[in-house]
Symmetry: C2
Subunit: 207 residues, 2 copies
DNA sequence: CTGCATCCGCTTCGATACTG
DNA sequence: CAGTATCGAAGCGGATGCAG
């Protein structure tokens, strides 16, 4: 818990007392896709000072949002994972992301953390445009593969996994993906059915 | 727009670039119930320095969230009001408030702004417990009257308005209301049907 | 190598005073 | 009423150090 509090009898103010500090919700976003180690968190959040990450994790632990767990050998490590209370922030993050979606247009030369890629795909997904669609896409950004599965008007995003028999394979880097999301495919290696790429473009749209 | 940005291609990070600074979302909450003047905002947000309020309003204006408008005579003034983009933050605030609801238990000696009272009532409202309910309650906290109308499983909250023929009238102050929300009615003047008070208590519940 | 703590320069915040 | 000016305190970002 930070020292600075709003001191208001208001559910919004109370939530912001816990979540409102810089980096806090981005750390929660990182943990949304599963437990992570301290160093992995730091690597995915450039600009966040190491001691500040430690402080935020302490506050999140104290707030009942994050649990610290020792992973036994063979690969001993400390991982941080969300509690149920932490996972309940999914709705908060979803709404903030939906609101923030138009702002992605302004993005230039930004970093693309793995979890941001996953959240981005979920946020750009248009359920109504995917009603009759049922296929899988292979996406690979900066060497990190993601399987995107569209099915029954929903999207499933699996990190670090190879899609089997994808309708289209897109291999690119951060810049290429950002341009792709803007509807300007360049610097991307695309293999497969061009129609499938168009279908993907309609389902995952920035506008 | 603040100078500090996350520089991530992520809809959450982009939203937080605009909304993540201290006080920003609380100012939006204040404006959610209608336009307000500079001084009214400052009075409802104790602890917020005047120059910081000016800076936040500038940023919110620049971000397309708040519009500055001159009200012509007979009562000339400057008011700030939300744009459609600003009103779209309703869902964000609602989710944050729902998540923060349990934290209200910890509240001691807090300030209760008018808009926090309204948001609090909307957040504490249990739709399922109000399915067959159709009545109006008069609530008055620190001299500010609020008409709470429960109807068809929804709640309507009208600030600065007197409820007509309310099922119960509750007149209290900040401390009294906070205790009331915790289920400890004390220091509150209550008039009307005791059963109606119980019904209100089931519909508006902290737990 | 991981998981921090410490130090330092800069920015932001909070409180008060002051002005058109 | 609607802000700007000023200033000490706290928070942040980056680099470095260090124990397990």
């Amino acid at each position: 818990m930070p020292r600075r509090r709003y001191r208001q009898f208001c559910p919004l103010a109370k939530a912001l007392d816990v979540l409102g500090e810089r980096w806090t919700l981005l750390i929660v976003r990182e943990l949304m896709t599963g437990p992570k180690r301290y160093t992995d968190l730091r690597d995915e959040l450039p600009g966040l000072a190491t001691d500040l990450l430690a402080a935020r994790l302490r506050e999140l632990h104290h707030g009942g949002i994050v649990e610290r767990r020792d992973v036994p050998p063979p690969t001993p490590a400390v991982v941080y994972e969300l509690t149920p209370r932490g996972h309940a922030l999914d709705a908060v993050i979803t709404e903030l992301a939906l609101w923030g979606r138009p702002l992605l247009q302004e993005s230039i030369d930004d970093y693309l953390p793995q979890s941001a890629l996953l959240l981005g795909i979920k946020t750009l997904f248009h359920s109504d445009a995917a009603a009759d669609l049922d296929e899988t896409y292979h996406l690979e950004v900066d060497g990190r593969p993601v399987a995107v599965q569209v099915h029954d008007g929903t999207v499933d995003v699996a990190p670090d996994s190879i899609a089997e028999r994808p309708a289209v394979r897109i291999v690119t880097d951060t810049k290429g993906f950002i341009n792709l999301a803007r509807g300007q495919p360049q610097a991307a290696r695309i293999e497969g059915d061009p129609d499938a790429l168009n279908r993907l473009g309609r389902v995952l749209d920035l506008s």
